[in-house]
Symmetry: C2
Subunit: 246 residues, 2 copies
Amino acid sequence: MLSKTIIKYIQSLAHKKVRDEQGVFLAEGSKVVWELLNSNKFKCKIICGLKGWMDENDNMINAIAAEDEIEITEAELERISQLQAPNKVVAVFYKKESEPGHLKNNLSLMLDEIQDPGNLGTIIRTADWYGIKNIICSNECADCYNPKVVQASMGSLGRVNIIYTQLEEFIEEKKKISIYAATLSGKNISSFHKLREGIILIGNESKGIKQNLLDLVAEQITIPKKGEAESLNAAVACGIILSHVV
Amino acid sequence: MLSKTIIKYIQSLAHKKVRDEQGVFLAEGSKVVWELLNSNKFKCKIICGLKGWMDENDNMINAIAAEDEIEITEAELERISQLQAPNKVVAVFYKKESEPGHLKNNLSLMLDEIQDPGNLGTIIRTADWYGIKNIICSNECADCYNPKVVQASMGSLGRVNIIYTQLEEFIEEKKKISIYAATLSGKNISSFHKLREGIILIGNESKGIKQNLLDLVAEQITIPKKGEAESLNAAVACGIILSHVV
């Protein structure tokens, strides 16, 4: 049975300000919550699930020992869910600051102002598919704890480090790592087959990569076009590049 | 100046039922509307733009001769826009039934129940980037005239034929065209380099491709995984496959 306080608390987490104050974020849906619990990256604060789901995942729920474990009804799920089709479980996790992992001998991603939460989540999921461990985001990127990002990342948030920083400074500090910027006028992606180290830089959905960042970059890398669309969606472009360079 | 009737009419086009009854759809934003006007595929019924946009595109607007050309204020734009950030222009176009183009000597896409409008729009845009002319959708796919599809397609709707049909029957009829189904357990995409003819089949976001469709398919095609995500977003998968086979 859900108290009014918990309902209000969960609903309030749609707002970044509240998430930041509380240091928590919201995750929903059987697969996403299962993956986040299973990754052991984020401590679980509250878990609210339908009886069937709670029973099915009994062992894991006991092991994680959330502060609140609440069995809820379908009607209660609808009240706290932000999804069009609520899916069995809603959970609140404590955020965790990501430490950047090793950039040497690894491929990483860098995102300059990716603003659409769906795109950011999809990029996190795609990075996880290709075994990329670090995503360096400009401070203007969408919040990786936005519920739409968590949703689109399909649980990969538990396996990829997301670091927010000032990109120009970051690049100046890591001078030894080559940066490959995805643009419309660089070298064909096929020339970058089996890249073992470096950072792939993806730009904003409409403005692309800022000129002052481009000035700091080793190479520009381009996806060849056969048709007429002016550009590709940022997450699709990221997937295509990774599929060719990994 | 916008009449109440036009405001209500435009707002009502968020609903598929109204779009179907009226045989029209809504497009928004400078780039999307410009591309659709420019493609000459869809006849324009109403165009409502800010003064600056209307002046800038004066020649094109005269040439297309919409039934209503209305200069609007920022406040009026906000009332009729469905975007979070309204962008200069909203237009209503007449739908047009797509005839399937030549499938022989061409690559095409087939979509089994792609339900997310953003994914469908992104797939249309990606197809256009790779010069794919035909997308064959199952009747359960999202409506390609849904405003979110139109938005995500970034104007590519004017250059790609979208056909809705019963996929099993379609495949039975076109027996001579090979179908390549994107699954998690097929041959590596790198074995399908420079495919000149065929149909790439992409499945539903969570359920994948229906078994009865898979039974009719020549080959299964898989994107190799290096990391841990269980699957890729459907539009990202589509982009990766096209980038390797085109």
